[in-house]
C-alpha cells in the first residue's frame, strides 16, 4: 500500500498566479488557490515511518518555508483538484526522488507525484471544471480529478516481443491508403505501392517495424518530399497573364546558389545536421533552426521544451559545443475572445505562456543564453502556432568526424526509450483537426534537459579524444532515422534487446521508432568503447552498444533472436518515388488606400501594437547572460528596456581574438499574405540590416531558411511556397549570402485553415572587433541622426496597415543591389564613427526613432524625408534597406563621404526628452511644426504596457 506525503509551502506564487488568471478564462469567484505537492511512496514492503521522515527532512521539504503530512488527503478546504502525469509521461521529479531515496539507502522506493489544488471561493461545478481544464491540467499529458487521484506508478507491463507481419500483396490502392492512414504512416498511395512492389519482389510481407521505418524515413519531416519534388507552377499576374514554369526541386535550387557563391569561409552547407562556417583560423560556428509546431499546439510546454532539446542535438550532431539559443514564435492574439476559439484548440494565451515557459526551462537548464528572437501575433496562428527554435555551436575547425568505419560499434548515449514520442515525424507531416489530440497524444513529450546536458559534456570530451567516427542525433523517428542515416553506405546490424527502457513492455518496433529525446548515436571503433564508457560514467550518462556497421549494405534489426527488420539500405534511402506536384499562384490586385491623419496617438498606437511592444516579460525569463559572452543583449539602453536589433556573442574560450558572432532574424508574415516572393526578400533584408546595425560584416553572413506552410498538396499553398523559394534564391544571389541549412515544416493547417505562409530567415555573421559592436541606445545628446535608404512608399503588410485596417495590398519592393549601401554602413561602424544604430522595421521610421529614444531616454528631433509620400505613409511605411544611425557631429564629413547617396542627415539627439517628428515635403518644404511630439516617458509607457504574462 503506497504512502501519501503532502508538502505545502507557506508562500505560494503558483497559487497566486492561478487566482489572477481565473478571470481571464471567465471565472470570477476564485478567491484563493492553495497548491500542495503530493508524493505517493511505494516500496513493496510497508515503509518504515522513520525512513519517510528522513526522506522528507533531507530532500523533500524545506523546513523554513514548507511543512509536510503523511497519510490520507485530509479534508478539503474548498474544492480540491488533483493533477498527475498520464502513465508513461516523463516524471522527472519522481525519478529524482527515487534516486535520492537510493542515496539515503531507502531501498527500491517507487514514487508517483501529483499536484493538489485547493480552490477556495464561490465556485460551481462548471467553474471548477473550467479552471481545471484551462489552468491546471492538459489532457494530452495529464489526468485530473476532483478529490484524490489514485497513484499510477511507472507503467507495468510484461516484457514481450512480438513482431507483426503486415500483408500488402494484393491490396488495392484504396486499401493501401486505408492502411497508411490507420497506422499513421502519412504515406500516399504512390509510396505505398512502391513498398508493396519491393516486398513482392523479395517474396514476403513487411514487418510492422519495416513499414514504420519506411514511413519515418520517407516522411515529409525526414526526407522533404515537397522540397525534392518536380513542380509545375502556373503563375497568373494581376492583369491575367499566365506563365507556366518547371521547378526541378526547391531544395536543389537553394543549394545551387550556395554552390555558386561558395565563399572561402563556408565549411559545410546542407549535408550535416547543422550548417558550419569559419569563426577564425581555429574555431568554426555551427547554426541550425528547427520548428516544433504541432507538439507545441497540443502541449505548449513540452512541445517547445523538446523543440529546444532537438535543435541543440542538431548542434551536437556536428560535434559542436552549443553556446546560444534563439526562438521565434507566432501565436494567435492573446486577447482572443473565447467564442472565436476553434474547438479542440488551446487558447493562444495558454499556448504562448506554455511555450515561453518550455523554452525558458530547457535553455536555462542547459546553461545556454537565449539571446535573439521575435514574437508575432496573428489570427492565422490560432489553430496552429509556430515555434522556431535555434541553436549556435562552436567547434574546433575540422574536428567533426563524419564517416562510420566498417566494424564500428553502433552506440547510443543519453536518455532511455519510452513509448512517448512515437510517430513524431509522421505526425508533423499531416494536418491537424479537433481529434488530433486523441490520435497522436503519444507524439508529445516532456523534455529532460539535465540528461541532454550530460550528452553535451560527453560529446565535447569524446570528440576531443577522437573516440567516435560519426555522430548524429536521435530526432523524430528515433533509432530508425539516426541509425538508418548513419548506416546508409555500410549497412548495420542492430540488436534491440540491450536497449535501456524507461519501463518494460515496448514492442520492438516501438523501441526502434520512439523519439525518446536526449539521445545521440555514434559510430565507435571497438577499441575506443572503453574510453567512451569511462567518460559516460564520469558524467552520469548511460551508454548502450546496439550493434555494428556491417558492410552488407542492409539494415538488419533483431530483438534477441527474433528478426525485426531486414531490408536494403538502398531501397530505404532511394526507393521513395519522386513526387510530381502542381502549383498555382495569382498575384494580388493593387489596392489604393487612404491614409489616416498623423497625430501623437498614432505613434503611441504603433508602439503598443503587440508585434511592436516590448517583449521584456518574455525575454527576462530566459537567461541571456550564462557563458559570460553576451555583448549585445536582447534588451538594451539606459534602463535595459529598449529592443536590440541582433545579438552579439563572444564565445567562451575565444578571448585571444576580438572577433565575435552575431545572430539576427527576419520574419515578415504580413507581407507574405500578399506576396510570398517579396516576403522572402523582406525577411532576408530584415535579418541582414539587423545584423549590420550591431556591427556585423555584410560580407561574412550565412543564412538559414525555415519555411512554415500549409498543406503543400494544395496547389495554392504550394504556389506561394515556390514563390518564396524564388525570393530566397534571388535574395541569396543579390546579397551574396549563402544558405547553409534550412528546414521546412509543411502541413501547418487546422481543419483546412493554413497558417499565413511564414518564412523565417536567420542570419549568422561576425563582428570583427567586439569593442566596436554597438546597439540602438549608445547615442549622446547632440549626435546627428542619419537615415540610410529611402522609403518604399508601400503600406501593404505593415503594422500601420494592421493597426488601422487599411487593406493595403502593395508591398515594399525588394532591393536590387543591397551591398553598396550595407558595406559603407559597416565600415563606418567598424571605424567607430557610429554611436547607435537601429533598423526600420515594424512601424517604419516613426517607431525606429521612438525606440531609439526610449532605449537611450533622450529626445530625438527628426525631419523625415517624404520621398514622395504623404506624411502618414512617410512615417509608417516599412521596407528593405533602411537604418537610423546616430553619430557625433565631428563625424559628419567623414560619414557623408562614406555613405554617399545612401545616407541623409535627418535630425539630432536632444536633451528635452521629446520624440519630435516632422515630415519634409517632396519640394523640400517641411510640415509646419512637429506632426508628432510625444514625451519619451509616455512613449515608454505605451511601449511597455503590453499585456503582462
Amino acid at each position: 500500500m503506497p504512502l501519501r506525503v503532502t508538502v505545502t509551502s507557506h508562500s505560494d506564487p503558483e497559487g497566486d498566479a492561478i487566482v489572477s488568471a481565473a478571470p481571464l478564462v471567465g471565472v470570477n469567484g476564485l478567491a484563493e488557490c492553495r497548491v500542495s505537492r503530493v508524493y505517493h511512496l511505494d516500496a513493496g514492503d510497508p515503509l518504515d515511518r522513520n525512513d519517510v521522515d528522513r526522506l522528507c527532512r533531507e530532500v523533500l521539504v524545506d523546513p523554513v518555508v514548507a511543512e509536510y503530512s503523511v497519510g490520507d488527503a485530509g479534508t478539503a478546504v474548498g474544492r480540491a483538484v488533483e493533477v498527475a502525469a498520464l502513465p508513461g509521461v516523463t516524471d522527472i521529479e519522481a525519478r529524482e526522488l527515487e534516486r535520492a531515496a537510493q542515496q539515503l539507502q531507502i531501498a527500491d522506493l517507487r514514487v508517483s507525484t501529483a499536484v493538489r489544488y485547493d480552490l477556495i471561493g464561490d465556485l460551481d461545478d462548471t467553474a471548477v471544471a473550467v479552471i481545471t481544464r484551462r489552468l491546471l491540467a492538459n489532457d494530452t499529458i495529464e489526468q485530473s480529478h476532483e478529490g484524490t487521484l489514485a497513484p499510477t506508478f511507472t507503467v507495468q507491463a510484461d516484457a514481450h516481443c512480438e513482431v507483426e507481419s503486415v500483408p500488402l500483396a494484393q491490396l488495392s490502392d484504396s486499401e493501401l491508403a486505408t492502411l497508411s492512414s490507420q497506422r499513421l504512416l502519412s504515406l500516399d498511395t504512390e509510396e505505398m505501392r512502391a513498398i508493396q512492389r519491393y516486398f513482392d519482389e523479395i517474396g514476403r510481407s513487411p514487418t510492422d517495424a519495416e513499414l514504420e521505418t519506411l514511413a519515418q524515413t520517407w516522411s515529409e519531416h525526414c526526407v522533404h518530399k515537397t522540397f525534392r519534388a518536380a513542380i509545375e507552377l502556373t503563375h497568373t499576374t494581376a492583369d491575367g497573364r499566365r506563365t507556366v514554369t518547371r521547378h526541378d526541386g526547391l531544395l536543389a535550387a537553394l543549394r545551387e546558389v550556395t554552390e555558386e557563391l561558395d565563399p572561402w569561409w563556408l565549411r559545410s552547407a546542407f549535408v550535416d545536421d547543422a550548417g558550419i562556417v569559419a569563426f577564425d583560423d581555429h574555431f568554426d560556428l555551427a547554426f541550425k533552426v528547427e520548428t516544433h509546431n504541432h507538439p507545441s499546439a497540443l502541449e505548449p510546454f513540452g512541445g517547445a521544451n523538446t523543440g529546444i532539446g532537438g535543435v541543440v542535438r542538431d548542434i551536437l550532431g556536428v560535434s559542436a559545443r552549443p553556446i546560444a539559443c534563439t526562438n521565434v514564435l507566432c501565436f494567435g492574439p492573446v486577447d482572443l475572445p473565447d467564442e472565436r476559439l476553434f474547438p479542440g484548440v488551446l487558447h493562444p494565451r495558454r499556448i504562448r505562456d506554455g511555450v515561453v515557459e518550455g523554452i525558458a526551462d530547457y535553455g536555462n537548464k542547459l546553461g545556454l543564453p537565449t539571446v535573439n528572437g521575435a514574437v508575432v501575433y496573428d489570427e492565422g496562428y490560432i489553430g496552429n502556432p509556430l515555434v522556431y527554435c535555434g541553436a549556435l555551436g562552436l567547434l574546433v575547425n575540422g574536428s567533426h568526424p563524419s564517416a562510420a568505419q566498417l566494424g564500428d560499434r553502433v552506440v547510443s548515449i543519453g536518455g532511455r526509450v519510452g513509448r512517448d514520442g512515437i510517430h513524431g515525424a509522421t505526425f508533423s507531416s499531416a494536418t491537424m483537426d479537433a481529434s488530433t489530440v486523441d490520435s497522436v497524444g503519444a507524439a508529445v513529450q516532456i523534455g529532460d534537459p539535465i540528461t541532454e546536458k550530460g550528452c553535451i559534456e560527453v560529446v565535447e570530451r569524446a570528440c576531443k579524444a577522437g573516440l567516435y567516427n560519426a555522430i548524429t542525433d536521435c530526432g523524430a523517428g528515433g533509432f530508425s532515422s539516426a541509425v538508418g542515416e548513419m548506416g546508409e553506405d555500410l549497412g548495420v546490424e542492430v540488436n534491440l534487446e540491450g536497449v535501456r527502457l524507461k519501463y518494460p513492455g515496448l514492442q520492438p518496433w516501438e523501441i526502434w521508432l520512439s523519439e525518446a529525446q536526449e539521445r545521440m548515436v555514434m559510430a565507435v571503433s571497438p577499441g575506443s568503447l572503453a574510453a567512451l564508457q569511462q567518460i559516460c560514467d564520469d558524467w552520469d550518462v548511460e551508454l548502450t552498444d546496439l550493434g555494428s556497421f556491417s558492410g552488407t549494405g542492409d539494415l538488419v534489426v533483431r530483438h534477441g533472436d527474433t528478426p525485426v527488420i531486414d531490408m536494403s539500405m538502398d531501397f530505404l534511402h532511394n526507393g521513395l518515388p519522386r513526387r510530381e506536384m502542381a502549383a498555382t499562384w495569382v498575384d494580388p490586385p493593387s489596392t489604393a488606400v487612404e491614409s489616416p491623419p498623423v497625430n501623437d496617438e498614432m505613434l503611441l498606437g504603433l508602439l503598443s501594437h503587440p508585434d511592436v511592444a516590448s517583449k521584456e516579460d518574455i525575454v527576462r525569463r530566459y537567461d541571456h547572460e550564462v557563458r559570460a559572452g553576451t555583448v549585445v543583449r536582447p534588451l538594451v539602453g539606459r534602463n535595459a528596456d529598449g529592443p536590440a536589433d541582433a545579438a552579439v556573442i563572444k564565445p567562451l574560450g575565444t578571448q585571444y581574438t576580438p572577433v565575435a558572432a552575431v545572430l539576427s532574424n527576419g520574419l515578415c508574415p504580413r507581407v507574405g499574405k500578399h506576396d510570398p516572393y517579396a516576403m522572402a526578400l523582406s525577411a532576408l533584408d530584415e535579418a541582414v540590416r539587423n545584423l549590420v546595425a550591431v556591427g556585423g560584416d555584410p560580407d561574412r553572413v550565412a543564412l538559414l531558411d525555415n519555411f512554415c506552410w500549409g498543406d503543400p498538396t494544395r496547389s495554392d499553398r504550394l504556389g506561394s511556397l515556390v514563390r518564396a523559394v524564388q525570393g530566397c534564391t534571388d535574395g541569396a544571389r543579390r546579397y551574396a549570402m549563402p544558405f547553409i541549412s534550412g528546414k521546412d515544416s509543411l502541413f501547418n493547417e487546422f481543419e483546412g485553415r493554413p497558417v499565413p505562409p511564414t518564412l523565417l530567415i536567420s542570419a549568422l555573421g561576425l563582428v570583427p572587433d567586439l569593442d566596436r559592436a554597438i546597439d540602438s541606445a549608445g547615442m549622446n545628446v547632440g549626435d546627428d541622426l542619419w537615415l540610410i535608404g529611402r522609403g518604399s512608399g508601400a503600406l501593404g503588410g505593415s503594422v500601420a496597415d494592421a493597426l488601422y485596417s487599411l487593406g493595403a495590398t502593395d508591398v515594399p519592393a525588394p532591393l536590387e543591389d543591397p551591398l553598396p549601401r550595407y558595406r559603407p554602413v559597416h565600415s563606418a561602424i567598424a571605424a567607430g564613427l557610429v554611436s547607435a544604430a537601429h533598423d526600420c522595421s515594424d512601424g517604419g521610421i516613426a517607431v525606429a526613432a521612438a525606440e531609439m529614444a526610449i532605449a537611450a531616454r533622450y529626445g530625438v528631433a527628426v525631419e523625415v524625408p517624404a520621398d514622395g509620400c504623404d506624411a502618414f505613409t512617410a512615417l509608417t511605411n516599412e521596407g528593405p534597406g533602411r537604418l537610423v544611425l546616430a553619430a557625433h557631429r565631428s563625424s559628419r564629413e567623414a560619414l557623408a563621404e562614406m555613405l554617399g547617396v545612401h545616407g541623409r542627415r535627418i535630425g539630432e539627439v536632444t536633451a528635452d526628452s521629446r520624440i519630435s517628428l516632422q515630415v519634409q515635403g517632396a519640394g523640400g518644404d517641411t510640415t509646419a511644426g512637429a506632426v508628432i511630439s510625444v514625451d519619451v516617458q509616455d512613449a515608454t509607457r505605451a511601449f511597455t504596457s503590453s499585456v503582462p504574462m
Binding site: S9, P63, A100, Q103
Partner: protein, 270 residues
C-alpha cells in the same frame, strides 16, 4: 608562487562552471572543473585544492527544490572533507545554485559555530516573490561589516552583475534570525538601488529596501549573499563571474566588475 589550484565542483546540471573558471583564471588562480562522480571515486580530492567553488546551474534539474539533491550528496559523502577545507581556512564560494547547495547542506545560514542539521535550518532560498525565473542586472555592495576575513579587503566594494534564477529569495525562519545574521556580520552582500541610471559610485547608492527590481526577488533585508561563522564559506545569488571584463556590462560606465571578489578568493587560497 604557482597559481592556487581551485576546485570547481560540477554535478549533472551545473552550467556556469566555465564562467567561474574564466573568472578564477583572470583573478590569477588555476581552476579545475571536476564532476562529483570523479570526487566520489577518489580520483580527485577536495584536499588537493586551495579553495572550493560551487558554481551556478540546475544541479540534477533542481527537481526536488533548488540545490536539494547536490546538498544531500555533499552531506552524505563529503561532510568530512568539506569540514577539513573550512577548518584549514580555505575559502569556499557558492554562486547561485552553489549558494543554494551550501545553504541546504547546512554549510551556510547557521548563526553559531556548528552547522545546523538539514531539518533545523533557519534560512533558505525559495521562489522569487514574482514567482518566476528572472534574468537582469543588479548592483551589490559587499557589506562593510562582513566578518569573512577573505572578503575583508573588498568591504564596501560595489559589484554590478546579472542574476539568473527562479529560487533566489533569501528568507529566514523569522526576523530574529535575520537580525542575528546582521548582528554577527554574516550578511555578505546586499542589493543596492542605483536609481534611474547605472552608477557605480558607492556614495550615491542605498540599499534596495525591498523594492523591485533593485531587489529582484524579494529577499529579506536585501540580502544577496551571506557567509558562515568561520568566514571561510561565502555564498551569493548573483553572478559576479559574468562581469569580470569591462565589455560584459550592458550599459553605464566601465568598472564595478566582480573581479575583485575572485581576486580576494584566490588571494585567500594562496
Amino acid at each position: 608562487m604557482s597559481a592556487a589550484p581551485i576546485l570547481i565542483v560540477h554535478a549533472s546540471g551545473t552550467n556556469r562552471d566555465g564562467d567561474a573558471a574564466q573568472a578564477i583564471e583572470l583573478a590569477g588562480g588555476s581552476p579545475r572543473i571536476v564532476h562529483i562522480n570523479q570526487l566520489r571515486r577518489g580520483r580527485v580530492t577536495f584536499g588537493d585544492h586551495a579553495g572550493v567553488l560551487i558554481p551556478g546551474g540546475f544541479s540534477y534539474g533542481d527537481s526536488l527544490g533548488a540545490g536539494q539533491r547536490l546538498a544531500l550528496e555533499l552531506r552524505l559523502w563529503f561532510a568530512h572533507e568539506l569540514s577539513e577545507v573550512v577548518t584549514a581556512g580555505k575559502p569556499v564560494l557558492g554562486i547561485c545554485n552553489g549558494f543554494q547547495v551550501l545553504v541546504k547542506a547546512g554549510l551556510l545560514g547557521g548563526t553559531s559555530e556548528n552547522p545546523p542539521a538539514a531539518a533545523s535550518r533557519q534560512v533558505t532560498l525559495t521562489d522569487n516573490a514574482r514567482g518566476r525565473f528572472e534574468c537582469r542586472w543588479v548592483t551589490l555592495r559587499v557589506e562593510p561589516t562582513v566578518r569573512s576575513s577573505w572578503l575583508g579587503s573588498i568591504r564596501d566594494t560595489i559589484i554590478r552583475c546579472p542574476i539568473a534564477h527562479g529560487e533566489g529569495r533569501f528568507v529566514s525562519a523569522d526576523d530574529s534570525v535575520t537580525a542575528e545574521l546582521e548582528a554577527q556580520g554574516l550578511v555578505a552582500f546586499r542589493y543596492q538601488d542605483s536609481g534611474a541610471t547605472p552608477v557605480v559610485r558607492p556614495d550615491s547608492l542605498r540599499a534596495a529596501s525591498g523594492v523591485y527590481p533593485a531587489n529582484p526577488n524579494g529577499s529579506a533585508a536585501d540580502i544577496a549573499g551571506i557567509c558562515d561563522h568561520s568566514g571561510a564559506v561565502v555564498g551569493l545569488m548573483p553572478h559576479p563571474e559574468d562581469h569580470v571584463l569591462d565589455w560584459q556590462r550592458p550599459n553605464g560606465d566601465p568598472g564595478a566588475t566582480g573581479l575583485p571578489l575572485f581576486e580576494a578568493f584566490v588571494a585567500a587560497a594562496q
